[in-house]
């Protein structure tokens, strides 16, 4: 098997080509923050939080493959500052109010804000207007809290195979939709499996009936499902 050597934060690591920087880093206990990445789903580099420095260039570690003699820095001051700004932009683009959110205390976005020491948002808030879609009998989506990571879209398409979730519009108008932008409760393709709920990192897609701070999710079920389907 072909072996290559990469250097991550000064550590020389021997690995095989074709793997992502993130995979190699995780395997060697090097922490890189992620949001749109979920083990078991394809990687798309949507959130940009896993950026690392490769010889002065910022690349997303979840979608960049390692190469021989590649030198990667995961936690320079500049990289950390960029990550914090990206996170601030995610907060400013939505309406994230932790205080009364069902996912308060169980939210990956909130955890990242703590980890990256985002003490305040320094960019102007966009205050977009969204409608809560509670038409599904068991679940609801509040797009105020959606960070467009696309985990719901990928879990629905790649694992459940229903392809109910997709993206509509572009730029600041982009949003996730069900079927051809119909109310979720009328989306004919939805199997009501709940995978989108479990993988959503915030309080955007949640179970109905959960109150403030009660929502706890199990994104790892997707990882396990994928493993079992691959290895039997």
């Amino acid at each position: 098997m072909e072996r290559i050597t990469v250097k991550i934060d000064g550590r020389e690591i021997v690995t095989s080509p074709g793997r992502t920087i993130l995979e190699v880093a995780v395997e060697h206990g090097i922490r890189i923050p992620t949001l749109c990445h979920l083990e078991g789903l394809s990687d798309v580099g949507a959130c940009r939080l896993c950026i690392v420095d490769v010889r002065g260039q910022l690349v997303t570690s979840c979608t960049t493959r390692v190469a021989d003699k590649m030198e990667v820095l995961t936690g320079t001051d500049a990289v950390r500052a960029y990550r914090r700004t990206i996170l601030e932009l995610l907060f400013a683009e939505g309406n994230h109010v932790c205080a009364f959110c069902v996912s308060n205390g169980g939210c990956e976005l909130q955890d990242l804000a703590c980890e990256l020491e985002m003490h305040s948002v320094t960019v102007p808030y966009a205050y977009p207007r969204h409608r809560v879609d509670a038409t599904h009998p068991r679940f609801l989506i509040d797009r105020d809290r959606c960070v467009l990571c696309g985990r719901c879209v990928r879990a629905c398409g790649e694992v459940e195979g229903a392809r109910t979730w997709n993206f509509a519009e572009r730029g600041s108008q982009a949003r996730v939709i069900t079927d051809l932008d119909v109310d979720w409760g009328t989306a004919a393709s939805c199997t009501s499996c709940g995978k989108c709920v479990e993988v959503c990192p915030t309080g955007a897609i949640v179970r109905k009936g959960e109150s403030n701070g009660e929502m706890r999710k199990k994104p790892e079920v997707i990882t396990r499902l994928k493993e079992r389907r691959t290895h039997g």
Binding site: A99, F100, V102, N104, R131, V132, A134, T135, P137, L140, D142, G185, K208, G209, E210, S211, N212, G213, E214
Partner: protein, 475 residues
């Protein structure tokens, strides 16, 4: 020359307010207005949110009595789910509300108001606060602080935190009471009871005579509060009772879910705080008062023995129902006593540690009303939802709002007593503030308003020019 007096800011209350006193050409008081100068708009931005968020969302109206909003909201949500919540959930919600009454009343009495009358109305404003009280009477102040802490700790142990506990949910509560916490509450109960009785004894020995309690004026009004079907004082369930100034029953027991048939709100251009009034008497004649004095005047009796004995003495000392603004403090102490007694009764009920605490249901009714007694008075949450549980409309009538007509009346009466021929003194300022403070108004809640409260008095003459502004910064 006609003048106006403005008091700005009003201190040691929750929120922002100012007072304008209008003088006539002789310099006597023609009218006075208590303005609440902030707006928050919860009734607008809650529209479109989901039912299940409402307890936690509306709790953010206030940091002093978030528990009140959580419970009223959860009750409105129960009505929409059309469920009867489990017995343990009812006991636990009552327990939290009793803890809330203790902590909020202790805060109002010992921290905010007692400095006025225990240190003296005309004492130096710089030390007329809880710090001054600690210096003057450290034992009493310490006991008062511990009494409040007892109420706070009950809330903390039930809900996981003291402020904004996301614990009462549609259908019940989400965390049972462990035996260890029940034991802690029972252990601390005797001290809370002793402190309350001591504070009552001190109050009565100082202000036992009616003349001593006339300081913040005495005027007749109707009184409103929840009572049990047998007419007993109530704070969580029951029916709406309205009595007149003599205690004659005007509304014996109105269904709280149909409050809007007897209570409506009027608006004035000079304040964000609306004016709830009793519909059959119209506006502004339908003035009634809520809160400690409202409840104590509205009920026939207390269900607990110590509070009942105090009620009998209170009525004897007051010649029946009391219209004295100062008696809000007296009633507040009696209510702390009743709450502490009820905490003991609730904790003695073994069902209270049951883990069956939540009923699950979907949207079964499109409209729900939750009414209960917050420390400052009757609190009403009224929601309309669509079939999916999304809020379409809501109406909040918050305790302080009910007292708005009465607070304006109190300010006017006090101003008339202490302003003659245009002469205004620091003593007048203190008594007007004290008159407002007796209602323990929570302006942040009542208009869902933001920030701290400064109070200014402005004097405006007949031409509409401000001739004097009395303001100070003693926060």
């Amino acid at each position: 020359m006609e003048r106006q007096i403005h008091i700005e800011p009003v201190t040691r209350i929750e929120g922002h307010g100012k007072i304008t006193v209008f003088l006539d050409a002789k310099g006597d008081v023609r009218d006075a207005q208590f303005h609440v100068t902030e707006l928050r708009g919860f009734e607008q931005f809650c529209v479109g949110r989901t039912l299940w968020e409402m307890p936690g969302l509306t709790a953010r109206i206030c940091g002093i009595c978030p528990v009140s909003h959580i419970l009223a909201s959860a009750k409105a949500c129960d009505a929409i789910l059309a469920v009867q919540i489990p017995p343990a959930a009812t006991l636990l919600r009552r327990l939290m509300n009793a803890g809330q009454l203790v902590q909020s009343h202790a805060l109002s009495y010992f921290y905010l108001s007692a400095p006025d009358f225990l240190l003296g109305w005309d004492s130096d404003p710089a030390t007329r606060n809880v710090i001054g009280l600690v210096a003057a009477d450290p034992v009493l102040a310490r006991k008062g602080i511990r009494l409040r802490a007892f109420g706070q700790e009950i809330i903390d142990r039930l809900g996981g935190k003291r402020i904004h506990p996301g614990w009462a949910v549609p259908g019940g509560v989400n965390q049972a009471l462990p035996e260890t916490d029940r034991a802690w509450m029972l252990e601390r109960l005797p001290e809370a009871l002793a402190t309350t009785q001591e504070a009552l004894a001190l109050f009565k020995s100082t202000f036992g005579d009616v003349e001593d309690r006339d300081v913040l004026t005495d005027f007749p009004s109707m009184y409103m509060g929840l009572v049990r079907p047998d007419g007993a004082w109530e704070h969580y369930a029951g029916v709406l009772r309205i009595v007149d100034s003599k205690g004659k029953v005007v509304e014996p027991g109105y269904d709280p879910a149909r409050y809007y048939e007897i209570i409506q709100e009027a608006s004035e251009p000079w304040t964000y705080l609306k004016f709830p009034h009793y519909v059959p008497k119209g506006y502004p004649k339908g003035m009634y008062r809520v809160g400690p004095l409202g409840r104590v005047n509205a009920c026939d009796h207390f269900a607990t023995p110590l509070a009942q004995a105090e009620l009998e003495e209170f009525r004897e000392r007051s010649g029946g129902r009391s219209g004295r603004v100062f008696d809000y403090h007296y009633a507040r102490l009696i209510e702390i006593l009743a709450s502490v007694e009820e905490i003991g009764e609730l904790l003695a009920d073994d069902r209270i540690t049951s883990t069956e605490i939540r009923a699950q249901a979907g949207i079964n009714v499109r409209e729900g009303v939750g009414v209960h007694e917050a420390p400052r008075g009757t609190l009403i949450h009224h929601y309309w939802v669509d079939g999916n549980g999304v809020i379409e409309k809501l109406n909040l009538i918050v305790s302080t709002g009910h007292n708005n007509l009465a607070m304006n009346r109190a300010v006017r009466e006090i101003a008339k007593t202490y302003i003659k021929k245009g002469k205004v003194s620091e003593g007048m300022l203190n008594r007007i503030e004290g008159g407002i403070r007796a209602y323990d108004p929570c302006l942040s809640c009542s208009v869902h308003a933001v920030g701290k409260m400064p109070l200014a008095v402005e004097i405006v003459d007949a031409q509409g020019d401000v001739v004097t502004t009395l303001a100070r910064d003693d926060r």
